[in-house]
């Protein structure tokens, strides 16, 4: 099978869906033909669609988020590119509101709000406190949104196409450290349903749950641990909402040990939530407390060694796994 970069998987998904359905349009800063957003479709393809379907803007995140929800309710299918995940913050109210509209209508006339809020995590660079945040737990916390964090080019393309066809607001978060990773992606069309976790690595001693770039960090940790005779299973839920808790439970039932790795602030985070759901069902199967590795509730510093002190690292994942084994 051909191999493509993850950013190409995004571009293909967007262009294919734009061709397939003329209600789909793309909007955001720097999505135009001269733009630099990694998620914009290639120049030629944008020229195919014209200004009404590739709506480049300045810095107007509130307009992008709420305007697109309005267009969606009025029958369009917008894809919003926020570039950096941090840029969801200025539109936080509007993104949260997108999850509320349908319930507020009581679902009358089967109203739908098919909008995709796309962005990339910028962590592990020198962006500092406001250009490297990972607002994952907070969007998952908000009701009415679906939340997708793909790891591979294959998953990215299949899940993004599903997102664009979904009739609900979907927050779709990729990762700058993955844009230039390659992977097999078939030429033929395929979709990946939401709510199906995948086992990235089989193992028997400890279960790790991780998404996006955290999967790669965890895989690295697992290699090291294997050499020490510790066998790690890695589950990638791919979508948080809906969450395939079952695949996680099956794994933890087998291993009796769980580590959740998540690059967002750790407090009230993904680790806490998954741990809760696991102890609720499997308290007595847990051989050790669940561990979590995440941002230690700290605005991210610029200096690399400080940033590493705050953020998940391979070493911290290894230590957390070992903690479940003592």
């Amino acid at each position: 099978m051909r191999e493509i970069y993850l950013y190409q998987a995004i571009q293909e998904a967007v262009s294919e869906e734009m061709r397939r359905d003329e209600r789909v349009f793309l909007t955001g800063e720097a999505v135009g033909p001269s733009g630099t957003s990694p998620t914009r479709p290639p120049k030629e393809i944008m020229e195919e669609f014209g200004e009404h379907r590739v709506r480049e803007t300045g810095i107007v995140e509130q307009m992008l988020a709420a305007g697109s929800a309005g267009a969606a309710m009025a029958g369009m299918r917008p894809i919003v590119d926020f570039m950096m995940a941090d840029f969801m913050f200025p539109a936080w109210n509007e993104i949260m509101q997108a999850g509320l509209w349908r319930s507020g209508h009581g679902g009358a006339e089967n109203i739908s709000i098919p909008v995709v809020y796309m962005s990339g995590l910028m962590s592990y660079g020198s962006g500092g406190f406001s250009h490297s945040r990972a607002p994952i737990a907070n969007v998952w916390h908000g009701p009415g949104l679906k939340v997708v964090l793909p790891t591979t080019p294959y998953d990215t393309k299949g899940l993004l196409k599903t997102a664009i066809r979904d009739n609900n607001p979907v927050v779709f978060i990729s990762h700058r450290l993955l844009y230039r990773t390659q992977g097999p992606v078939p030429e033929e069309e395929y979709l990946i349903p939401f709510g199906e976790a995948t086992v990235r690595r089989e193992g028997k001693d400890v279960t790790i749950v991780a998404l996006s770039y955290m999967v790669n960090l965890s895989l690295e940790a697992a290699e090291v641990l294997e050499q020490e005779g510790i066998s790690v299973e890695i589950i990638d839920p791919r979508t948080l909402e809906p969450l395939d808790i079952n695949t996680i439970l099956v794994s933890v039932e087998k291993t009796g040990r769980l580590v959740v790795v998540d690059e967002d602030y750790i407090r009230c985070g993904i680790g806490a939530e998954i741990a809760f759901q696991v102890q609720e069902k499997l308290l007595k199967s847990l051989k050790a407390p669940v561990q979590r590795v995440g941002n230690l509730n700290t605005p991210i510093p610029v200096a690399s060694n400080l940033m590493q002190a705050v953020m998940p690292t391979k070493e911290k994942i290894i230590a957390a796994v070992k903690k479940t084994l003592v």
Binding site: R23, Q62, A66, G70, G75, Q97, H105, G107, E109, K146
Partner: protein, 319 residues
């Protein structure tokens, strides 16, 4: 005056219907039996005029005083009152309350975060523009809500993209208990149109139904022709408090009385009578019909069943 006779009659009828509904809802709010609070729009009904210019396929956004918009856009009284009673028969099955929605009439609810609907309206304009069938968006908002940040982004992009949106500011000089001199540095809000290269018009006498409707007509036509957005501001006044129960420490009885003398409905009535567009009997008939309509809807709402608890979770996601 260029507005057709039957339009004027429809406007009059809808103003009466709205006002009758409003009085009923005030009573309901005072009764303590209606779960939702009521923001009365009494005194601001001139707005019925512009809404009457819209077709079913056009879009509106409205404020928390939206009764005139819902009615003039074609909603049934039942849909509205039952929703305020949080009944299973309300337009949102008792889930949305005051945030009235009717997608098939281009009414997509209301964000409780004031000003949240301004970019929403621009987005409906995107849909209208892409569809290319001459639909327009008429977006109402108050002077208070107009100070909220998203206005800037929404108006700017509506203009850059020449979206078919007519912005309509109901300036009643008050944002809850705060008077305009504490919420705006300027007096005429339509002045902000200059920041967005669109035409703006302040209608000093915002209780003049004809003037208000004609201004809207001009800008709506312009928008339908693809010439982009425009901003209308009307100076008007709410007779009642911000909400039913408001102690109204921020204004005098005299101020209220002054404005009640400028009642948009009474003045429109005089005009219609003078022009023989209506008779005393005709007026009475319309009022009786409105009373009956409201009473029927009220009864319907009161007698409708509550929603079923298990339905609490069934509207979160579309399939």
């Amino acid at each position: 005056m260029t507005l057709p006779k039957n339009l004027l009659q429809k406007i009059y009828r809808d103003m009466i219907r709205t006002r009758t509904l409003d009085y009923q809802m005030i009573k309901n709010a005072q009764s303590g039996k209606m779960p939702c609070g009521w923001h009365s729009g009494l005194g601001e009904e001139a707005i019925v005029g512009p809404v009457s210019l819209l077709g079913k396929d056009d879009y509106v956004t409205y404020t928390h005083r939206g009764a005139y918009v819902w009615i003039a856009k074609g909603m049934e009284m039942e849909d509205i009152i039952a929703e305020f009673y949080a009944k299973s028969t309300g337009c949102a099955y008792g889930k949305g309350g005051t945030h009235i929605a009717k997608p098939s009439l281009g009414i997509f609810g209301r964000s409780g975060m004031q000003g949240g609907h301004l970019p929403l309206a621009a987005g409906m304009g995107i849909a209208a523009q892409m569809r290319g069938q001459g639909q327009v968006v008429l977006s109402f908002f108050g002077d208070g809500c107009a100070t909220r940040a998203p206005l800037h982004e929404a108006m700017n992009y509506a203009s850059i993209w020449k979206l078919p949106v007519v912005w309509f500011c109901e300036n009643n000089g008050q944002s809850m208990s705060v008077k305009q001199d504490k919420t705006w540095a300027i007096k005429d809000i339509a002045q902000i149109a200059g920041s967005y290269a669109m035409p703006g018009k302040t209608i000093e006498d915002g209780n003049d139904v004809i003037a208000v409707t004609e201004a809207a007509q001009e800008f709506l036509d312009r928008a339908r022709r693809g010439e982009g957005p425009a901003l209308i501001e009307i100076k008007t006044y709410r007779w009642r408090g911000h909400y039913e129960g408001d102690p109204m420490l921020y204004r005098t009885k005299q101020e209220i009385n002054e404005w009640m003398k400028r009642d948009p409905l009474k003045r429109f009535e005089q005009l219609l009578l003078a022009q023989n567009l209506i008779t005393q009997e005709g007026m009475q008939k319309i009022q009786v019909e409105a009373d009956t309509e409201v009473a029927k809807a009220q009864k319907f709402a009161e007698e409708s069943p509550d929603p079923l608890p298990e339905d609490a979770f069934n509207a979160i996601y579309a399939t």
